[in-house]
């Protein structure tokens, strides 16, 4: 009998296939969204329900397990709060409230739990998000690996930023160094920690970036995502597919910190497939791109770059992401496949 492997949870093709089979194909269309809103008919960063005054309630839910719970640059509390806030933002919503479920394993230290919850509360409070409800459970020892936090985020949007609205002529902006979270967690998890490294997770809520942008450029930002699981290559492939376009990016323009690039090189990992938890990818109107980039810089995201653009595709099959490589060749960027493992050859 086929069993769930770690690859099924890695955010790549295996996971999509599994969800397709178990969920997307199963549900009849009318069950997939609230009339006039956005649901899993077009899976995006979050879902939306229309309100009577022409706005939308944006909702998202996510479960967080991370090993180790405290990692360089953050902890599971910050991660759970940021992740849900960012998902609301990426759909164009201003986050206002959240609910949480915390499940811990019997034997977990209360002091540690306090630290984790404090960082979660701090993060929510920095974002102006109220924690309005939740649940708490304890599982018998061995039935859970330490702790699991699930957060639900709620926001309000005047206008939704939906990935399928990306269109030819748009430029792609990446707000900061990619793959930082993925690389540092990977190093910690696999015991492949270098003796010394500058690897740090980039986990953070993106309110200070996204709220000003949404308010000022609501109409010019056609799509937005945070490239978490599956990394930039997953996000862009998803965009190309849902918007029926061809995306061309330039390798040289993609912001990567040297230590992250080095770490990936040592293990033969592709940084495009590693997660960020504090980066936004934006698809913006071509003419506005430079102006928006400048604003992104002045909001403190100084590593931001325009990494590529969106083209009309020539043929039906061509919903691709193509990268112009550092020496000028072209390569198709496929969504990541399988559990990410280091390689020696």
């Amino acid at each position: 009998m086929e069993k769930i492997t770690l690859a099924h949870g890695a955010g790549g093709r295996e996971m999509n296939n599994l969800l397709e089979e178990l969920i997307f194909k199963k549900l009849p269309t009318f069950m997939k969204k609230v009339e006039g809103g956005l649901g899993i008919d077009f899976p995006d960063d979050a879902a939306a329900i229309p309100t009577s005054d022409g706005k939308y309630i944006v909702v998202t839910v996510d479960a967080y397990t991370v090993n180790p719970i405290f990692f360089p640059g953050g902890d599971i509390g910050i991660l759970a709060a940021s992740g849900t806030v960012n998902d609301v933002l990426m759909l164009g919503g201003i986050p206002i409230a959240a609910l949480d479920t915390v499940i811990v394993e019997e034997g977990f230290e209360i002091e540690t739990l306090r630290k984790i919850l404090d960082s979660m509360f701090n993060t929510f409070s920095k974002c102006g998000v109220k924690l309005i409800g939740g649940d708490f459970k304890v599982m018998p020892r061995g039935q859970l690996d330490k702790i699991l936090i699930s957060t639900m985020g709620i926001g309000v949007a005047e206008k939704l930023i939906v990935d399928k609205n990306l269109r030819p002529g748009d430029k792609i902006i990446v707000s900061g160094y990619i793959a930082e979270h993925g690389a540092s967690i990977y190093a910690a998890q696999r015991g492949l920690t270098p003796e010394f490294s500058e690897l740090r997770s980039d986990v953070k809520p993106l309110v200070d970036l996204m709220i000003p942008l949404i308010e000022k450029y609501g109409d010019s930002i056609h799509s937005a995502s945070d490239p978490t699981r599956g990394g930039l290559s997953m996000t862009l492939n998803h965009w190309a597919k849902s918007s029926n376009t061809l995306i061309i990016i330039e390798e040289e323009k993609i912001p990567i910190r040297e230590s992250v690039a080095s770490y990936c090189e040592i293990l033969g990992l592709d940084p495009l497939t590693l997660a960020s938890e504090g980066v936004a990818v934006l698809g913006v109107e071509g003419e506005k791109a430079d102006e928006i980039l400048e604003d992104v810089h002045s909001l403190g995201y100084t590593e931001a770059q325009i990494i590529g653009e969106v083209r009309e595709k020539e043929r039906k099959e061509l919903s691709l992401v193509v990268m112009k490589t550092s020496i000028g060749g072209y390569r198709i960027i496929e969504p990541p496949v399988g559990e990410i493992v280091p390689r020696i050859c």
Partner: protein, 402 residues
């Protein structure tokens, strides 16, 4: 001009060999001009074979095929220790992992499918999902440290070529291998397989020889290949500029009717190689006629522990044995044409299972597994059919920018 002494060679490699678009264009121009001359003298196609999965990776990763003039074909040869690792090693590893022996593996072999299922399981990652003790490591040192720390009965799925084997040899010689760690010795030698492939495929005009294998063996091991088959052979580095330079050198030799070994990768490879490493391998291992998955038995192409170190052999320790010549059955599942893909005889797209029954999500044959597997590389990076599409894109871009 700064002297070479003070330069950061890591950075310099990046700048000069990896991201130098200007230089790439110049080399390409020279390749094009030389190719034009060759065409005038009657060539229609030039088939250049690489033996190293990492060269194939460089080729696809940097989109080199999209840059080369039409008519120059880059073939992928048997350069991946994963795809050619016979199923019985994988089966033994799975079995041990399910019986409570910790199995260390490089990420490359983690998903490698076996031919036979062991307790319903046909790869180490599935074994892990079923409760087997499998640990993915980046280096032998990681594994040794884990064994010492956790004091577990364990074995290392020791795949690899000349490059990977010095580590095992040194760990044994320097008495770094804990007694509760054994090795599944699946090591193979490159030159015999290269000659085999060149002979079987035929019509190979040039060879890009593996740079990192050659750091150990030295450039000299390729002389026989170049002379016996009259094929220009270039020991190449792994940056895109290295590969382009090697292609240019092969074209040059062709145009002058030469067939020599040239070391393009001179910054890391010498003619005689790494004497220390060769000596260590020699002391610990002997060479035997070994099986290559999908290919068969190639004389003098595999490593095996010498008598005095046999106690580290997992097969001896746990009562497995190598199949005999008669039992050997090529190890491929029905329909999988990896054997031909591996030696560069067919392209993955010529296999009727490619991207149908056999995909990167659920690999059917071994060449779809390793990140170096030709089928996987073609599936992920450049569906060969997409080369034309990419050329079109290039055209769009050029017209946009002019």
């Amino acid at each position: 001009m700064k002297g070479l002494e003070s330069i950061d060679l890591r950075r310099a490699t990046n700048i000069l060999f990896r991201s130098n678009r200007e230089l790439a264009l110049k080399i390409l121009k020279i390749i094009e001009l030389t190719w034009a001359q060759l065409k005038k003298s009657g060539y229609e196609h030039l088939r250049i074979m690489n033996f190293c999965g990492t060269h194939e990776w460089t080729t696809t990763r940097y989109g080199l095929r999209s840059l080369l003039p039409e008519g120059i074909e880059l073939l992928a040869g048997p350069g991946c220790p994963v795809c050619i690792t016979p199923s019985h090693y994988v089966e033994a590893a799975i079995k041990l992992s399910l019986e409570g022996v910790r199995v260390y593996t490089y990420g490359d072999a983690y998903k490698l499918p076996s031919v036979k299922k062991i307790n319903g399981v046909k790869s180490l990652d599935e074994a892990k999902a079923s409760g087997g003790d499998v640990v993915v490591v980046y280096s032998l040192l990681d594994a040794i440290r884990d064994v010492v720390k956790n004091r577990v009965e364990s074995t290392f799925l020791a795949i690899g070529f000349e490059t990977t084997y010095p580590a095992y040899a040194l760990a044994i010689l320097k008495e770094e291998t804990p007694e509760n760690l054994s090795y599944i010795v699946a090591g193979r030698l490159t030159p015999p397989a290269a000659e085999y492939a060149v002979e079987r495929v035929g019509g190979v005009d040039g060879v890009i020889a593996p740079g990192h294998v050659s750091t150990i063996t030295g450039g000299e091991v390729w002389i026989n290949l170049a002379e016996k088959y009259s094929i220009p052979t270039v020991v190449s580095g792994f940056e895109p500029i290295d590969v382009l330079l090697s292609i240019a050198e092969i074209l040059k030799q062709k145009s002058r009717g030469e067939a020599r070994v040239v070391i393009e990768y001179a910054r890391a490879v010498t003619w005689s190689g790494n004497v220390n490493a060769k000596k260590a391998i020699n002391e610990v291992f002997e060479v035997h006629d070994a099986a290559w998955r999908g290919i068969g038995i190639i004389p003098k192409s595999g490593y095996k522990l010498r008598e005095e170190y046999r106690r580290f052999d997992a097969f001896d320790r746990y009562g497995f044995r190598e199949p005999t010549r008669d039992e050997w059955c090529y190890d491929l599942l029905p329909g999988c044409r990896c054997g031909e893909v591996i030696i560069g005889k067919i392209k993955p797209s010529e296999c009727s299972l490619f991207m149908k029954k056999c995909t990167p999500d659920s690999p059917y044959g071994p060449c779809m597994v390793s990140s170096e597997g030709t089928c996987r590389i073609h599936a992920l990076h450049t569906n060969v059919n997409n080369i034309d599409e990419i050329r079109k894109i290039k055209w769009i871009e050029n017209s946009n920018h002019q």
